[in-house]
Each structure stands twice: as C-alpha cells, then as structure tokens.
Symmetry: C2
Subunit: 193 residues, 2 copies
Amino acid sequence: MPMARRSQTETAVLGALSMHPMTAYALREAIRDVLGHFWSESFGQIYPTLGALERQGHVERREGPRSGSSTFVITDSGTARLRELLNEPITAAPPRNGLLLRLFFGRTLGVRKCRELLLEAKADAERNLAGYEGLARKISAEEKDSPDLPYVLTTISAGRRSAENVIAWADEALALLGDIPADDTTPTNGESS
Amino acid sequence: MPMARRSQTETAVLGALSMHPMTAYALREAIRDVLGHFWSESFGQIYPTLGALERQGHVERREGPRSGSSTFVITDSGTARLRELLNEPITAAPPRNGLLLRLFFGRTLGVRKCRELLLEAKADAERNLAGYEGLARKISAEEKDSPDLPYVLTTISAGRRSAENVIAWADEALALLGDIPADDTTPTNGESS
DNA sequence: GCGTGCATGTAAAGTGTTACATGATTCG
DNA sequence: CGAATCATGTAACACTTTACATGCACGC
C-alpha cells in the first residue's frame, strides 16, 4: 500500500476557519486571496474536506447568511487538530520550476526566447512586488492590534523578498546572456519582428 | 472533459537526453542530481515517458553498457519536439509552501515552534548555499567551453540567490517574532528544554 | 424577468508517487 | 559468493484539477 504523503488541505481549511467562521464559498475565496501567495487548494477539495472535518467533529455547521447556506465554525477539537497538523513535519513539494527548466536547455531554446522569458518573469515579479507592498501597508493599518499581525507580515515579507530576488536575478541573467550571439542554435521560428 | 494541464515530464526527459545519450537509470540520476534544484520526476514517470517517446520516434534505443540495458539517443524529430515543448507557455505549479502555511497560523502553532521552523529553514538554506557555490565553481571549471555553460550558471545562480534570500528573510522574521512573549497561545507541548 | 454573484456540491480524468517485483553485473 | 549497484519495469493508489449541474437572491 503506497503510503501517501499527508495532504495538507485539512491544515489550510482548519487554519482559515481558525481566523473566523465562514461559508465554504467564502473559504475558497479566503484561501485564494489571503493564502494565495504561498498556498492553493482547488474548489473540488474544499467541500469533501469540510464534510470529513464535520463528521470528525472538528467543525460545526451553523445557519448561514442565506437560506440553504451554512457557516462553518471550528470546534475545540478542531483547534486541537489544527495544532497537531501544524506540528507535523513539513512535506516539501517536489520542485517544478518551468522557467529554470527552459533556461537550462537554453541552447536548444535559443537566446532570444530566453531573454523574452526572463523579461516576462521580471515584469511578473514587479507586479507582485507592488502587490505585496500595498498589502503590507493595508494589513498593518487594518489589523493593527491583531495577534496574527506579526505572523502575517512575516509571510508577506517572504513574498516581497522573493519578488525582489527574482528581479535582481533576472537582471543578472540577462547580462550574462547578453554575450551570446543571437543565432547560436536558434530554432527555425518564423515569428520575428 | 477536463482539459488537463500538459505534463512537462517529456520536456525534462528529452532535455536531459539532448545533452547526451544515456540509460533510463542514468536519466533518473541526471534528473535527480543535475536538474534536482529546480525539477523532479519520479521514477515511475520516466519509463512510460521513454516508451511513448520511442513509439513516436523522438528517441531511439541503442545497445546499452550492459547486456539487457539500453542507451537512449535523441533523434532529430526528438530535438524538434523538445524545441516545441520548450516554446510552450510555462504551466506554473500551484504554490504550496508548507513553511509559510505554518507561519501564517503562528498564533495557533506557538512562537517557540515558529522560531524552530525558521532556524531549520535557515540551516537548510545555508547548506544549499554552500552546495550551489561549490557547484558553480566545479561546473565553471569542467565545462569551461561548453555552449551550455551560461545557461547552466544562470540556473545555479537562481538557486544561490534563493538560498541567500531565505537566510536574510529568516533573520528578519526571527527578529520580528522576537517581540512576542513565548506563551501567547502556546500549545500544550510537553517538550521543552 | 434576467444577469450577476453567492452558494453547494459531484464526477471524470489526468498527474504523480510509492511500493513491489525481478534480474544482471561487478567488486571485494 | 554475497552485497552493492546498475538496470528495467508495473501496479495501486493518492492527490488534484476541472467541468458539469443546480439553485437562490438581489438589483436593475
């Protein structure tokens, strides 16, 4: 029997509910918008997980904001379970960096396209950076007295630094690739300006 | 019909074979050791993928270094296919950072454990950093005249910078968490020094 | 009355990991 | 000759995504 890596969906769901009760729909948005910078859960995972957590008594279903909808509330046993899950060793996701994979085979891909990819990555990172900076300001103001604040700021800082890092790296890489003549082993690509 | 995200296993396999021919076993090691810093493929994916590539004429099976073993060689059509795959848009893996997930819920996890996790992450990054620095020196010397060198160095630099970044971030985060009293909402954990 | 957004779920399918199974070769 | 390493594969299963299906409420 293949011993499966523990899924961390439970952790994310219980964690989000530990901040405040919400509907499954809101939970999905919270995971997308709040944890989105370092975590993701697909829609189809959230409902089954909530069902399982309910059966185990870790969350309770209350009257929702609309008829037919339900708000989920974490129970004491749920909080204990969350603590347990958070204390489990981190199961690292296998690395899968599509940009580095392409760059590594840059000789086959062609310098021109490599530069293009680097510029795209840099632009992306710049957008993200602006987002993180705005977010940090907003959260600092809004949640000034929340005990969660330092933890949240820490994760935002990780995102900000990572974006800055990509920008600096892209510049370095562009400089390094600048020395290579553009027709090295370049693909037979008709599209050029 | 769920339109599946393209698997990039083919890309990694063809890419590795584009550097030089090898057996499936060696391929697995190359992917683990050479691409390992930014890519991973499980053993069970490599064989079926090689089989499919062979049926499509993108790789050919030659006499291997031992009886019963075969060395795989990329064909012209395989090189063309690799070029095609490398030019496809990058399918970003959904983010899943277990460390940030735990830190985000640090109030529940407890400051002490958060510090522990940060120190671990920092130590990891320091190990990696040393590895990258050694690797960069080694590759620079060994492959001095390889046309692949600048591309490879670029990916190593990404790893090195990322490790440096984690170290700096961990220090910042540790300082930030330094202000929080250790018994905030701390779990009932018996283990303490 | 109709579109948009809130709300809840299920089903099909693909991706990827791990355990299992087996054998040859080399080296001490 | 036994252990380590090279070598090749398969099968079960977990994980995750995405498409589909359905309905209510609210504003215009």
